[in-house]
Amino acid sequence: MENFTPISAIMGGLLIGTGAMLTLWTNGRIAGISGILSGAMFPKQQGTLWRLLFIAGLLLGGAVSAIASGGLEVITQASPLMTVIAGLLVGFGTRMGSGCTSGHGICGIARFSQPSFVATGTFMLAGFITVYLERHV
């Protein structure tokens, strides 16, 4: 466990939770990134603007952190082809499953939504199994 970074993990988690809290408190919306992204591309009801503003803020958050820390550390192991496959699965899967780590994991569980508990357990398990198969089989 030499890569364990508890302080930054807790700080980051607190900020993520605060972002989700403010989204619900001010605008009454769920801060689920996959839903916000697809909702911005395919608007169903009122509310493209708040999605774009949220995404702009998210990008800025990444940028400010990158500037403050002298660049984001991004170490990828997947080949370009596997990266594309992974992206397709994440995009398709989060829409089919109605949410991702933020919408189900942080917001859905906070609402004690049963489907969100199941979805979170499922994508975690699938992630564990995938990495196990990749690295240890």
């Binding site: 980051g12 605008n27 996959s34 697809s38 998210l58 958050g61 997947a78 594309v84 397709l88 398709f92």
Partner: protein, 133 residues
């Protein structure tokens, strides 16, 4: 402004937590290897804020700036939910990215991040045209 601030804090949190680095995420998912449990603390800290605050906020008549809450209406636990979550989990394990961190990492201009985000959007578009009428 409030919603952009929310997104900003969210993005900042993703970057500080290390989730914008796929190696960190895969290190968490690799329970049989040199396991890095950091992401559990990200989740626990995130829930530590969201669970009590959602409880309080959802007791209010309305949000501060809008007239109503926009909460998911679908509450069905079906095959689509589980299949979708499983496909997402496989992609998460391969790429080391879920949607939020991938977007927040775009500023790195890393080729793989750009590829991932492009493919992720394409996956959403494919879902839209195949599954939604």
């Amino acid at each position: 402004m409030a919603i952009a601030t929310s997104g900003f804090l969210f993005g900042l949190g993703l970057a500080i937590s290390g989730m914008t680095n796929p190696a960190k995420v895969v290190g968490f998912l690799d329970i049989a290897g040199d396991w890095d449990p950091s992401l559990i603390l990200v989740m626990v800290a995130g829930l530590g804020v969201s669970v009590p605050s959602f409880h309080f906020i959802l007791k209010q008549k309305q949000p501060l700036l809008t007239k109503q809450f926009f909460l998911p209406t679908r509450n069905d636990l079906d095959g689509k939910l589980i299949t979708g979550a499983a496909l997402f989990g496989v992609g998460w394990g391969i790429g080391g990215y879920c949607p939020g961190p991938a977007l927040a990492a775009l500023v790195s201009l890393n080729t793989n991040v750009i590829l991932f985000c492009g493919a992720m959007l394409a996956g959403m578009v494919i879902h839209h045209f195949l599954m939604e009428k």
